[in-house]
C-alpha cells in the first residue's frame, strides 16, 4: 500500500485509447457464415469459449485456407466487459494472415500489448488482465477444431497465472534457485499473481486448480526434505560440511569436538559449558554458549578460554565459527 493506492479512481481511466476505440467500435465484430467462408475459399471454424454465467464468453470465427493453413478472415462475438470486447477485437485482427500454427502462439500478453498506446504503459488495469485470457483460449479452441485435436495438446506446461502466462515449473524453479519464501517474492521474480490475483490463494474471482500459496508451501517442503536427505547422504558418505548440516547435525558436530578437546579441561576446573543456539550470520556461524559451574563468572571465559575454544572449533569444524558467551 502506498499513497497512490489510498484513493481509488475509476478503472475506466486506466484503459488505453485503443481499448476505448475498440470497445466503442470493434472492427472485427460480426459473424461469418458457411456461405461467406465458401465464397472466401476457405473452411469455416466456429469456436466458443467462456460462459455468460462466468461474466465472459466469446465466439471466434475463422475462414482457413486449407491449402496453406492460413487464416484469411476472422471475426468475433463477445459477451463481456469493455476489455473483453476490445481484447476479442484485437485478437481476431492478430489472427488474420497467420497460419493456424502461428495463431496458436498468440498469447494474452500479445493481445494486451497490441492494445497499448505506449509500449511501456499497460492497456488495462491489473484486475482486467484476466479479460484478455479468454481471447488466447478461444484461439487454441479454434485451432484444435481445425486440426481435429484436443486443445489441451497445445499446452505443454501447466499454467498457474494465466494473466502473466507463468507455468508451474517456472514458479517452482525460481523458488528453488532464489530460495524464495513469500508469494510477494514470487510475484517480483515472475509477475505471477501481479494482475487479477486469482492465482494467489483460494477465494478470488476465479477458481484455480493450484494456487501460489500452495506451490510455495509444497516447494519449500520439498526443498526442506531435499536438504535433510542431502545432509543424511553426505553424512553417511563422510563428506558433510558444516554449511550443509542441519541444526541437529551442527550441534552434534560441535559437541563432539567440545567433548573431546574442551570440556575435559573445563570440568577439571569445576566448570562446563553448553550450546544455547546457532545463528547463521553469513559468512559467520554465531554459536551462543553459556558457561556452567566454576566457568560461570570466570574472567578467562571471555579471554583465553574463549579464544582457545573458538580456535579449536574453527580448526576442526568450520573456519567461520564465532563463539558468543551469553
Amino acid at each position: 500500500m502506498a499513497k497512490g493506492d489510498l484513493i481509488s479512481g475509476s478503472i475506466w481511466d486506466e484503459y488505453s485509447n485503443q481499448v476505448i476505440r475498440r470497445m466503442d467500435e470493434p472492427t472485427h465484430q460480426g459473424e461469418i457464415t458457411e456461405e461467406m467462408a465458401t465464397k472466401a475459399g476457405g473452411k469455416l471454424i466456429v469456436a466458443d469459449f467462456g460462459a455468460e454465467s462466468c461474466g465472459d464468453a466469446v465466439r471466434l470465427y475463422w475462414v482457413v485456407d486449407e491449402k496453406t493453413d492460413k487464416i484469411v478472415d476472422s471475426k468475433f462475438k463477445s459477451f463481456g466487459c469493455g476489455t473483453a470486447i476490445a481484447s476479442s477485437d484485437v485478437m481476431a485482427e492478430l489472427c488474420i494472415g497467420k497460419t493456424v500454427d502461428e495463431a496458436i502462439k498468440i498469447t494474452n500478453i500479445d493481445v494486451e500489448h497490441a492494445l497499448r498506446d505506449h509500449p511501456d504503459v499497460p492497456a488495462v488495469p491489473p484486475q482486467k488482465m484476466h479479460c484478455s485470457v479468454m481471447a488466447y483460449d478461444v484461439i487454441k479452441k479454434a485451432a484444435a477444431q481445425y486440426k481435429g485435436v484436443d486443445m489441451e495438446s497445445f499446452e505443454t506446461e501447466q499454467i498457474v497465472c494465466e494473466c502473466a502466462r507463468v507455468s508451474l515449473s517456472t514458479i517452482q524453479e525460481v523458488i528453488r534457485l532464489n530460495d524464495l519464501t513469500t508469494v510477494e517474492q514470487i510475484t517480483d521474480y515472475t509477475k505471477a499473481g501481479a494482475f487479477c490475483k486469482s492465482c494467489i490463494k483460494p477465494g478470488g474471482h476465479e477458481e484455480k486448480d493450484i494456487y501460489l500459496v500452495d506451490i510455495l508451501a509444497n516447494t519449500r517442503a520439498e526443498m526442506e526434505h531435499d536438504k535433510l536427505k542431502n545432509a543424511a547422504d553426505a553424512s553417511e558418505a563422510g563428506n558433510l560440511t558444516f554449511d550443509k548440516m542441519t541444526m541437529v547435525q551442527r550441534i552434534k558436530a560441535l559437541d563432539e569436538v567440545l567433548d573431546a578437546d574442551v570440556r575435559p579441561m573445563l570440568i577439571m576446573d569445576g566448570g562446563n559449558m553448553e550450546i544455547i543456539d546457532i545463528k547463521e550470520n553469513i559468512p559467520h556461524y554465531d554459536v551462543y554458549i553459556r558457561y556452567l559451574g566454576a566457568c560461570n563468572g570466570c574472567a578467562s571465559g571471555s579471554t583465553g578460554t574463549l579464544y582457545a575454544m573458538e580456535s579449536i572449533l574453527k580448526q576442526k569444524v568450520d573456519e567461520n565459527i564465532r563463539i558468543l558467551p551469553i
Partner: protein, 398 residues
C-alpha cells in the same frame, strides 16, 4: 443532457441543506464542546438537527441517536459493541444476519468469525427477501444479535422489519437494522417495529457525505467504537462535525416529512415505473426480485446478453450514470452477492443494471435515458456471443 440514476450510491446535497450548513464553516465555527459563546452558539441548530432526526425515525426522547461518520461506522459500532458486551464478556456467541447485507455488516461478521463468533447468514427467496419465521428458526440460546437490513441497496426490496422485530422482542434478543436505503423512501418507525439499533447515512437522502447516525433504544448497551472524549454521551468520541450534523438533520426532515414520502411514492415511483416498463419492452429483460415490496426509486434489471459493465460504459458515453453489481465493474471480480443470492439463474449474475432515481430526477431525463438505454442494448446485443446467435432472440426482435 446529464442523467444521474445512481442515487442508491449517493445523492446530490439538497441546495436547501447546503445553505443551512454554510454558516458552520466560517461564521459559527466554535467547538460545540467549548464553554465560550463561540462554541455555545452552535447548540440551537444542533438541537434542532437532533429533533429532526428523532422525528424522522420516530425515536422516543429517552432513546439515543449517536452522530457517526456514516452507516458503515454505525453498523460496525453495533456489531462490534455486541461482540464486546455479549460475546467477549458474556456467554453468547451467535449473530444472525442475511446474505444480502451491505459489506459493512457481512465483512464485520466475517471478521468476527475469525475471532470464534458463530454467524448465521439467512438466504433470501426468489423475491429477494426473507421472512420472520426464518429468523425465528435460526435463533439459538446463545444468539446475541439479529441484524437484518430494512431495504436492500441493489433491488430496493423491503424486508418485513416489524415482524422480525416482534420475533426478536419475544425472544429477548436485540434487533439491529441498517435503514440506509429506507430513510426518505418508506416510513421508518423504530417504535412500531421494535428496533433496538438502527443505522442511517445522510448522503443517501440528499444530506452531506461523511455523516451518519445510530439509533439506540433506551436500556440497551452501546460500547463505543471510538474511545476518547465525552462527546455523544460518551458513546462516540471526536469533535462533532456541526455543519454535517445540521445538514443531516435538515435532510432527514425534508426527506421524511409526509408530503416528501408521498412525492417519493407517487412521482418518483411513476418515473421509475416509466423507465422500468420501457426497458421491459425489450425481450429477455426481467426485474430481479420482482416488482412487489420495493423502495419506489429503485429497479434492478437483468438484460440478457448484455454484460453490466458494458452497459454502464455505453450509458456513460451518453452521460447517464447508473450502477451494476456485475464483477467486471469493480476491483472485486466476484459477481454481486445480491445477484448470486437469487440463485435461480446463474447467467443473470453479470447482466444486472441498477437504476435508482431521486426527487430531483425529471421526466425529460427519464425520456432521454430510455432512448439511450434501448440503443445501448441493441448495440451490445449485436456484439454479444450469448444473445445474438440463439435463434429465438435474434436482434431483429428489437
Amino acid at each position: 443532457m446529464e442523467v444521474y440514476l445512481d442515487n442508491n450510491a449517493t445523492t446530490m446535497v439538497d441546495p436547501e441543506v447546503f445553505k443551512a450548513m454554510e454558516p458552520f464553516f466560517c461564521t459559527i465555527y466554535g467547538n460545540p464542546n467549548s464553554l465560550h459563546k463561540f462554541g455555545a452558539g452552535t447548540h440551537p441548530k444542533m438541537v434542532e438537527a437532533l429533533n429532526y432526526l428523532y422525528e424522522g425515525i420516530n425515536a422516543a426522547d429517552e432513546d439515543d441517536i449517536i452522530i457517526t461518520a456514516n452507516a458503515t461506522e454505525s453498523n460496525n459500532t453495533v456489531i462490534k459493541g455486541v461482540w464486546v458486551d455479549k460475546i467477549l464478556n458474556g456467554n453468547k456467541n451467535h449473530i444472525i444476519t442475511s446474505e444480502v447485507e451491505h459489506p459493512s455488516i457481512t465483512a464485520v461478521c466475517k471478521f468476527l468469525e475469525t475471532q470464534g463468533v458463530s454467524v448465521t447468514y439467512l438466504t433470501v427467496n426468489e423475491e429477494g427477501i426473507l421472512d420472520a419465521q426464518q429468523v425465528k428458526d435460526a435463533i439459538r440460546e446463545d444468539t446475541a444479535l439479529v441484524s437484518i437490513m430494512w431495504a436492500n441497496n441493489e433491488t430496493g426490496k423491503i424486508f418485513p422489519i416489524a415482524e422480525i422485530g416482534a420475533v426478536c422482542k419475544e425472544a429477548g434478543i436485540p434487533f439491529h437494522t441498517d435503514a440506509t436505503q429506507a430513510i426518505g423512501k418508506v416510513p421508518v418507525n423504530v417504535q412500531a417495529c421494535n428496533v433496538t439499533y438502527l443505522s442511517f447515512s445522510a448522503h443517501k437522502f440528499h444530506g452531506p457525505k461523511g455523516v451518519g447516525g445510530l439509533y439506540v433504544q433506551k436500556g440497551y448497551e452501546l460500547t463505543p467504537l471510538l474511545h476518547g472524549g465525552e462527546q455523544m454521551g460518551g458513546h462516540r468520541a471526536g469533535t462533532v462535525d456541526v455543519a454535517s450534523m445540521v445538514g443531516m438533520g435538515l435532510a432527514m426532515h425534508l426527506a421524511t416529512k409526509p408530503e416528501a414520502l408521498e412525492f417519493e411514492n407517487t412521482e418518483v415511483k411513476r418515473l421509475r415505473d416509466k423507465l422500468e416498463d420501457a426497458i421491459l419492452e425489450l425481450p429477455e429483460t426481467v426485474v430481479i426480485g420482482g416488482k412487489d415490496n420495493r423502495t419506489p426509486n429503485t429497479t434492478l434489471i437483468s438484460i440478457r446478453g448484455v454484460e453490466g459493465e458494458s452497459m454502464l460504459w455505453d450509458m456513460n458515453q451518453k452521460t447517464i450514470g447508473a450502477s451494476t453489481g456485475s464483477a467486471c465493474a469493480s476491483e472485486d471480480l466476484e459477481a454481486n452477492p445480491v445477484m448470486n443470492a437469487f440463485g435461480s439463474d446463474s447467467e443473470l449474475a453479470h447482466t444486472g443494471v441498477r437504476f435508482s432515481l431521486s426527487r430531483f430526477t425529471t421526466e425529460e431525463q427519464i425520456d432521454y435515458a430510455i432512448e439511450v438505454i434501448k440503443n445501448a442494448v441493441k448495440r451490445l446485443r449485436t456484439i454479444s456471443s450469448s444473445y445474438a446467435y440463439t435463434p429465438k432472440h435474434h436482434v431483429s426482435e428489437l
